[in-house]
Symmetry: C2
Subunit: 386 residues, 2 copies
């Protein structure tokens, strides 16, 4: 097996608190990593790097674990730039615009959708994201949801069935919940690792607590892991339900009660924060400090989607988390890497240690601090080893 | 002379209200541009493009005028990532950190400084910026200010003498103002188009209104155009002084009184807004809408510098202007292109029309709207024609 030594790493963030400076980031200076067969076989000080078949010298650049974007909606056609501009001029967001994307996605053929998806994954990879979760949810028929998941499964193992994104035009709520939890789930399950529901108070376009419970329990019965969109638009039932059912993650968490935070702190569900959505919808940011101070595990993700955040940039999410949610740059980086891995219940990514995946992101900078310090500048790229 | 036709432009922003949709952006769909000898020789509908020696087909991408970044501090060594992290954790900014960069810059040799500067200009160009103004101000001795301006003049014609950035350690205010307005100005003037002063209330590290006036008038006597850093840290004398002296631009404008806005509306000075600074210092954003509604001409720039905004991304400034300052995406783009050109009193850039510079920025997107709609994503790049 070919051994590739990555040397000249000025600062290495391992996310392994057993090494380096003893912080959760496990920082090493003047470090090197050896990769064999797509896995890390050695991590340590540059001075002690073992012989390798090939050497990549990074000339002092910083390296961080590849970003784990645990929440994205990448299977869609069309865009909603005009809706965005209208929202910035004062039109409020209520989830209703999803229908626009559903129509455009249904109208696109497989070749078109596959090409759009590939472009988006490549765009993410070029910005340092090495794992992305991809949801369906712009099909909303049995055939269209299966198509979306089938396409998604060509590019990631982290596929999520989100038939319960919005009730499509022409269905009653009752009919559609029955379809999602029944025939659609049966058809979608072979292509999905996860099931997700957009859960909000009954007054919105999304699914209420009872509807969400029905769908999530049906998914669990089919062997899918659980995820929830919760508490984005208003205080609601999503967070409590996610924790009660042992979901891997509840995402958004924009509006949290004290009881929600207590539930998260006492449960096993990661709170995934999506500050790009608050940025692009001009909403208040989640209280990330209160979550961290309560001991809640958090992740950062993009929610990349054409409606509420068409950004694929994990570095921007880190910068927003620091500026707007008062995370330290290190807390934000950890949430964007190890946090995302926890939100996907993945032990093999998000940490740079022996035996883990060789997902390395190189920064055009001497330190991970620059991810927040240099907002908007494309300093992160995935290290391509193939 | 070789004619290059740029075809397949899905949407062309000309900033020429005489063409296209009649808006200030002068939008054309399905357009083409012909370039000869670095100048635009033809603009119009794709269907009418004249023959050319070479064709570049943009396959439906949007094109905008190259960004004009009219405020940047690119001649420096070292970084201040740790100061940034401390500020995000609560340490307030008062301008005092400039001294850190002064020490690092003085310690760097010419070869190092020239390479750092070239990297930064290239980074900007890769993100769609085709003109950048570059200030001195991290030297603060006669020899060091001349060195900075000499290096800057190798990469831009828009060089600005900012000896009056901060009073250096070891000088009294009186001594230093005399030096800046005397010997230092004499030595710097041959390398500078502009003179600038960091003007704030007397309680800060910057220069008060009387000191600023002395320095600006001395610069004007030497034939330099005037620019002012004003009203960044607090309400202060900068804006009124800039308008009174007919400065081309007053930059920051974070804290404005009604009298300041009235003065700007009645004068000939552009208000240059630097929202990256407010982002990176967690300060309130300027009231851009009030300025526009009063008829004030505005520009957007990065203020790229190691202390208060180490971002070189004009697209991020556009996104922040839309999200945080309530500009429309079109107003923000105009300010980042034609506005910057006005702030530099340049008639040859910022507009794509016959006879103007062939400074074209291509978007990996169908519309300029995506500059704000896709925050953090590197969709803009300068079209390299050489």
């Amino acid at each position: 097996m070919t051994a590739i030594a990555i040397t000249g790493i000025g600062e290495l963030t391992t996310n392994d608190s057993e090494v380096g400076d003893g912080s959760p980031l496990g920082l090493l200076r003047e470090a090197a990593v050896v990769v064999e067969g797509g896995r890390i076989s050695w991590v340590g000080a540059q001075a002690g790097v073992p012989p390798a078949d090939r050497v990549i010298d990074l000339a002092g650049r910083a390296v961080v674990p590849g970003f784990v974007d645990s929440h994205a909606h990448l299977v869609f056609a069309g865009d909603r730039a005009a809706e965005f501009a209208a929202r910035m001029a004062g039109t409020p967001y209520d989830g209703g615009g999803i229908g626009t994307t559903v129509a455009a996605t249904r109208a696109a053929d497989d070749v078109t959708l596959r090409a759009l998806l590939a472009d988006r994954v490549a765009e993410m990879r070029a910005q340092g994201t090495t794992t992305v979760e991809i949801k369906s949810g712009y099909g909303l028929t049995v055939a269209e949801e299966v198509r979306a998941l089938s396409l998604a499964s060509e590019v990631t193992s982290e596929t999520t069935f989100l038939g319960a994104h919005v009730v499509p035009a022409g269905s009653t709520r009752e009919e559609y919940v029955r379809l999602v939890a029944g025939e659609m789930l049966t058809a979608a399950a072979p292509f999905a690792r996860w099931i997700d529901v957009f859960c909000e108070p009954a007054s919105t376009h999304a699914f209420d607590g009872d509807e969400a419970r029905t769908i999530l329990l049906a998914g669990r019965d089919r062997g899918l892991g659980l995820r929830v969109h919760g508490n984005q638009l208003a205080p609601g039932p999503g967070v409590a339900l996610a924790v009660e059912l042992g979901a891997a993650s509840v995402d958004h968490c924009t509006y949290l009660s004290t009881a929600d935070i207590d539930a998260l702190a006492g449960g096993n569900t990661v709170a995934t924060l999506l500050p790009g959505v608050e940025f692009a919808t001009r909403s208040p940011y989640p209280d990330a400090r209160k979550l961290l101070d309560a001991g809640v595990r958090i992740a950062l993700a993009t929610d990349c989607n054409p409606g509420t955040c068409y950004s694929s940039s994990m570095p921007l999410m880190i910068a927003l988390a620091v500026r707007e949610m008062y995370l330290s740059p290190g807390e934000a980086l950890y949430a964007a890497t190890a946090g995302g891995a926890e939100a996907l219940r993945r032990g093999d990514i998000g940490v740079l240690a022996v035996g883990k995946a060789a997902d390395l992101t190189v920064l055009e900078a001497p330190s991970y601090l620059h991810l927040a310090y240099r907002p908007g500048v494309p300093i992160a790229r995935t290290l391509e080893l193939a």
